[in-house]
Symmetry: C2
Subunit: 274 residues, 2 copies
């Protein structure tokens, strides 16, 4: 085997090891990979609902706001055990707590980022992390022209400090935002520093030891897939420039008036699970 996730995901057989696992969580294994991805998406919507003061939400509403079908959503949630009340719906904040716990977000994750170039700096300054339970605690680069500079409220440190810093900071996630040809080396260093979650924005596929989880986001791949799907949709030969009048029905399923969605509109799930 050389695969990461057998792409079809898998309810994880049971890593042997700890068999009598911790208390609160009834079933953490046996959650399909695809479901996990969507749980993260639901979580975000639930956060909005909480902010908005909504207490109860139906599967139909939550599903619409998340861009999935309601049956799929109910199935997904059912993997966490009973979460709603029949005839009523789901308790928003309770459900949110349940998902957070399941995803392991209750222990606050600390993130280090390697590669303080354009993308790295953008990611460092990206507020979405903190807002969703991740704290950026370290920035590293190998270029002396960048090390020492301040990005947000963090100073860029030299990558040689990575190992020690990761342990001191108790980092749990490493993000790679370096050029492609440095990615594997940086990855090795992150693994060496004891991290077991790695998110890479380089295009190269990384190889990591068995116990390390890695994911990759390749922007060019995203666009290429987009390109293909579009070509396929439009019947392959998009000659005629789009007409000026684009008046097609388009569903408004914003939170609040999410409802039975009419007909001809699509919503995008996260790329990871359309």
């Amino acid at each position: 085997m050389t695969e990461q996730h057998p792409t079809q995901g898998r309810p994880l057989a049971g890593v042997s090891g700890a068999e009598g696992l911790s208390a609160a969580t009834p079933e953490l294994r046996d959650i399909p990979q695809a479901t996990v991805t969507r749980l993260a998406a639901y979580l975000r919507v639930l956060g909005l609902l909480v902010d908005q003061g909504t207490h109860i939400v139906s599967s139909e509403e939550l599903a619409a706001a998340s861009g999935v079908g309601s049956a799929k959503l109910r199935k997904d949630l059912s993997f966490l055990g009973p979460n709603g009340v029949r005839g009523v719906g789901y308790d928003v904040s309770r459900l949110r707590g349940r998902i957070e716990q399941t995803l392991g977000l209750d222990r606050g994750h600390k993130v280090v980022l390697v590669g303080a170039g354009n993308l790295g700096q953008a990611l460092a300054g990206y507020g979405g992390f903190g807002r969703r339970g991740f704290e950026m605690v370290g920035l590293f680069d190998i270029d002396p022209a960048v090390t020492g500079t301040q990005v947000g409220d963090l100073a860029v440190r030299h990558i040689d400090e990575l190992d020690q810093a990761c342990r001191e900071l108790e980092a749990t996630i490493g993000v790679i935002a370096t050029p492609d040809d440095a990615a594997q080396d940086v990855c090795d260093r992150l693994v060496g520093a004891g991290l077991d979650c790695i998110l890479s924005f380089s295009a190269t596929s990384l190889d990591v030891p068995e116990h390390v989880e890695s994911r990759r986001v390749d922007l060019a791949v995203e666009m290429q897939v987009l390109s293909f799907n579009s070509a396929r949709n439009t019947g392959q030969v998009p000659v005629s420039p789009p007409a000026l009048d684009h008046t097609e029905p388009r569903t408004q399923v914003r939170i609040g008036h999410a409802a039975h969605v009419p007909s001809a509109a699509k919503r995008n799930g996260s790329v990871i699970a359309p």
Copy 2:
């Protein structure tokens, strides 16, 4: 229906429309969604191989360098028709051309980006696009503090110019790098401007008309999934801080000496298709 891709992908039934399609391409439909994603990944590796002067590559080698299994790779390529020579392997540049054509990358895609904040500027400056067949032709923002400024060799224009500019520039792909609450509005404008491929980095799920393809990359989701998978791997209660000595076998499957991969190592496929 409110779904985008029924998540399981689908070999596309046939959009009716053009039935006697263009010449060269024998079968463009009927390619599984999952395969499309990986084709984009293979393409990148093939590019490296070309640069490197390699002429022939075996499924085993290409697969290893792409982070997938060789059987899967052969199956994927088989959807494009015969591409290799039995007992020999694949002609690198021929295969590359075939995939490019299939993905519709031969017509050069032109990309406009909305949202010239941190992320937007980083994306605009990201060389990976051009290197892989996409040309960034326009940058837009709504903030007067940013419009007019130069990012790379493009000036940031006001979003009100979007519609006209898209048509003049013949853009085909729109990228959204705005704050979440502006995303749907920007998306609407892009669609209004005639684009039918949209890539969004906002967390909100966008709704688009039937004929538009949209994808979304949500960084927080990526990390949350990472978090979960890691928790699952490590037996869920990662109490003991990682030991100092991390000496595990790790496969080196870089291009060139890609080979029969030993044992205990994983490689990450693109997030989109692990």
